[in-house]
């Protein structure tokens, strides 16, 4: 909103000589009237006088700004007057008013405030006010303001010529994808090109992993015909309130950009309303439940991914260093040398954030910022396994990845519900909600929830351990190998994985004290099946991204390579992003592949004496070549299962 948009030269009177305040007002009102700014001059004059009755609108420095918000005003406008001799306007500093502006504002909106603020910013400049007071013609007056405004708000200079070309960007777009590496930018480029081809000016904002680029400004949003949102994760939409908005998948931005632009240009896009009720109902209308779940999930996964990759590679480096320094296995493998310990500790530091971040950003996607705390704390509690009896989780079982997913979704939904309930609180408490009420209630709810859920996970865990021992005691070794392998891969760090791993390392500890070599061998066989089960999922997924490219999108393929390293290092967590994105496809495939590998490892009588370390502890493995064979077979089975279960991605081909 520029002053020069509101003030016309016909509305400026130079060298007026009103006898008193009343006459000055009368002249300024008359200027508004002659510019055609008013529906009802008398009603507007009344508004001005009523305002003056409350206190003078002179602000000192020989300036007065009478103003009124009135239904009698057609559109926001300004008039101005210079009074070289001055007129007594009851100014606080006692000086007569020589420079007068009169604001006519419509009753709705903030135009009045914005005009006032902008005028003040200009009029603070004494040099300008002096020049204005001495202006010889309305044209000169207007030019002075225009020049000052251009200097003070240089950003608008570019925007100013745009209205002359009728409009700036007709169509705006926002693109975003969960990982924010490729699709975001591919869609942006496709939309840009389609816009050029159709001769429709378009600006595309990208919400990629590097943050928001080419951000849309409020002015552009106000002036455009509509906005395309091509995104597979949440983007900030409140700013589009009242504009036509077409929401779709990021893939549509890549493949159907012209169609999307057409939706906006032809007025097919529905008008977006950002108030809570409308948002909820339009969500239900436009997006299927599954798609919304996916969006929340991906918001968590995409934020978790960097922690998994960086932490995983650090841990792998730790194993590598120990191997290079000639350490073969042992319970402290990966932390034997000082350098390895350091990498191990730092990698684990990143890993420790995985579940809190996953749950936190799922909850944030559901419940906005109030969800962050409940999700992060819920995810953390899932990773420690705190219960009512053991809140510090001294001897608890983590509920792991599955617990964190539960925490993220439940906490997010509870928080959203709670926000709705809080709408009924008095407005005076509005400021307290985000800083006190939401966090406090949220923490209480999530703490109770996770302490209630964790013991259930603990019970599941114990039952599993007992079942495993029973199998072992009944010589069902191969079955046990299969089951252990499958357990390692089903929840990737959750209770099943934990139970199998603890069982394996527990047997390892026992083995050291065993005198019977065959019992010892069984213990080592168990550990071998456990580790192989944990190595298969990332490798199976990595192979699938290499040999069945059409099942995956570009980012998934890119991260696939990293998964080979993860898998070889026995870092099952590498598979989590994939398992979280397509749980019903990835988990069964990995579990079957891992079961095959675990069973084969047992069948081949492979033994393992290290609790961790993946490929780096091969020297400690009994029958290492057969072990690797089992790993390859299991991974290939997993890959083939994935190829069967997960159909090709149509839009990604």
């Amino acid at each position: 909103m520029r002053i020069t948009d509101l003030l016309k030269k016909e509305g400026i009177r130079i060298g007026a000589a009103p006898a008193d305040k009343a006459e000055a007002i009368e002249q300024l009102v008359a200027l508004h009237g002659s510019c055609g700014n008013l529906n009802d001059t008398a009603a507007y004059r009344e508004g001005i006088l009523a305002r003056e009755a409350l206190g003078t609108t002179a602000i000192g420095m020989e300036i007065a700004i009478p103003h009124a918000k009135s239904a009698a005003v057609k559109a926001p406008a300004l008039t101005a007057m210079t009074v070289p001799a001055g007129v007594d306007y009851g100014s606080p500093d006692g000086l007569p008013a020589k420079l007068l502006f009169m604001i006519a504002a419509t009753p709705d909106g903030d135009v009045h405030m914005e005009v006032l603020a902008r005028m003040m910013q200009l009029l603070m400049d004494m040099d300008l006010t002096d020049k204005l007071k001495n202006a010889k013609t309305p044209e000169e007056f207007l030019e002075l303001i225009d020049a000052a405004e251009t200097e003070k708000f240089p950003d608008e200079v570019k925007a100013a010529p745009v209205p002359e070309k009728k409009e700036g960007y007709r169509v705006l777009a926002v693109t975003a994808c969960p990982t924010g590496i490729a699709h975001t930018y591919m869609a942006a480029e496709a939309l840009q090109k389609a816009g050029e081809k159709l001769g429709i000016p378009i600006k595309v904002e990208t919400n990629g992993s590097g943050g928001v680029k080419n951000a849309l400004t409020a002015e552009e949003i106000a002036n455009c015909d509509g906005i395309i949102i091509a995104a597979d994760k949440s983007v900030e939409t409140a700013r589009f309130n009242g504009k036509p908005v077409w929401s779709t998948k990021v893939a549509d931005g890549i493949h159907k950009p012209e169609e999307l632009i057409g939706k906006i240009v032809n007025g097919e896009a529905p008008v977006f309303k950002s108030d809570k009720k409308a948002e909820a109902s339009s969500d239900v209308g436009n997006e299927k439940l599954g798609r919304r779940l996916y969006k929340h999930l991906m918001n968590g996964v995409s934020h978790m991914l960097p922690f998994v990759v960086a932490g995983g590679i650090f841990i792998a480096i730790a194993f590598l260093i120990d191997t290079a320094s000639g350490v073969n296995g042992g319970s402290d493998f990966g932390t034997t040398t000082a350098a390895a310990s350091w990498f191990m500790a730092m990698g684990k530091a990143a890993f420790n954030f995985m579940l809190p971040i996953l749950a936190g950003f799922i909850a944030m996607s559901i419940a906005d910022r109030p969800g962050l705390l409940v999700g992060i704390v819920g995810g953390y509690l899932a990773s420690t396994g705190a219960t009512f009896a053991d809140p510090f989780a001294a001897a608890a079982t983590p509920s792991g990845f599955l617990g964190a997913l539960l925490a993220g979704f439940l906490a997010g939904w509870l928080m959203k519900l709670f926000e709705k309930l809080c709408d009924r609180l008095p407005r005076a408490l509005e400021g307290l909600k985000p800083v006190l009420i939401y966090p406090l209630a949220g923490l209480g709810v999530v703490a109770v929830m996770m302490c209630a859920v964790n013991p259930i996970m603990g019970i599941i865990n114990n039952a599993l351990s007992n079942g495993l021992l029973w199998l072992n005691n009944h010589n069902l070794g191969v079955v046990l190998g299969c089951i252990l392998g499958a357990m390692m891969s089903i929840d990737m760090g959750g209770p099943l994985n934990k139970a199998a791993y603890v069982f394996g390392t527990g047997m390892l500890t026992n083995a050291a004290a065993m005198t019977d070599p065959s019992a010892q061998a069984v213990a080592y066989q168990i550990m071998a099946s456990v580790m192989i089960g944990g190595m298969v999922p990332p490798i199976a997924i990595a192979l699938s991204t290499i040999f069945f490219k059409n099942r995956w999108n570009a980012e998934e393929r890119k991260n696939g390579v990293v998964n080979i390293v993860m898998g070889l290092s026995f870092i099952t967590e590498g598979a989590i992003p994939y398992a979280a994105a397509y749980p019903l496809k990835v988990i069964p495939s990995c579990a079957i592949g891992a079961a095959v590998a675990g069973g084969l490892s047992w069948l081949f009588n492979c033994t393992l004496m290290a609790p961790h370390g993946g490929i780096f502890v091969v020297p400690t493995i009994g029958k290492p070549l057969l072990y690797l064979l089992a790993l390859v077979i299991g991974s290939v089975v997993g890959m083939l299962m994935l190829a069967i279960l997960k159909r090709p991605n149509k839009t990604e081909e």
Binding site: R51, L54, G55, T57, I59, G60, M61, I65, H67, P92, D110, H112, M113, E114, L116, A117, R118, M120, Q121, L123, M124, R427, E430, G431
Partner: protein, 87 residues
């Protein structure tokens, strides 16, 4: 130095009358009075500067008083803002 956080609640925000009244009231105290808003600091003794800051309804502001009579000034400021300037 004393300070307090407020959410501006009168529908018009710091438009001319509240800004003038507020600045006049603050000018009566010897201490310095500053409004922190939107990352900026505004001398609250100048109606022009207050208006130039464009503080609308719902804005989060801090009023900071420093010097002689700071407590009285802040109490009066709180009273004015919290009462919505009598609007």
């Amino acid at each position: 130095m004393v300070q307090k956080h407020f959410t501006v609640k009168n529908a018009q925000g710091f438009h001319m009358r509240p800004a003038t009244n507020f600045a006049t009231a603050m000018a009566a105290h010897p201490c310095s009075v500053i409004i922190r808003f939107n990352g900026k600091e505004v001398n609250a003794k100048s109606p022009m500067l207050i208006m130039a800051a464009c503080i609308k309804v719902g804005s989060e502001i801090d009023v900071v008083c420093d010097g002689e009579g700071e407590n009285e000034a802040l109490a009066i400021a709180a009273n004015m803002i919290e009462s919505g300037f009598g609007e």
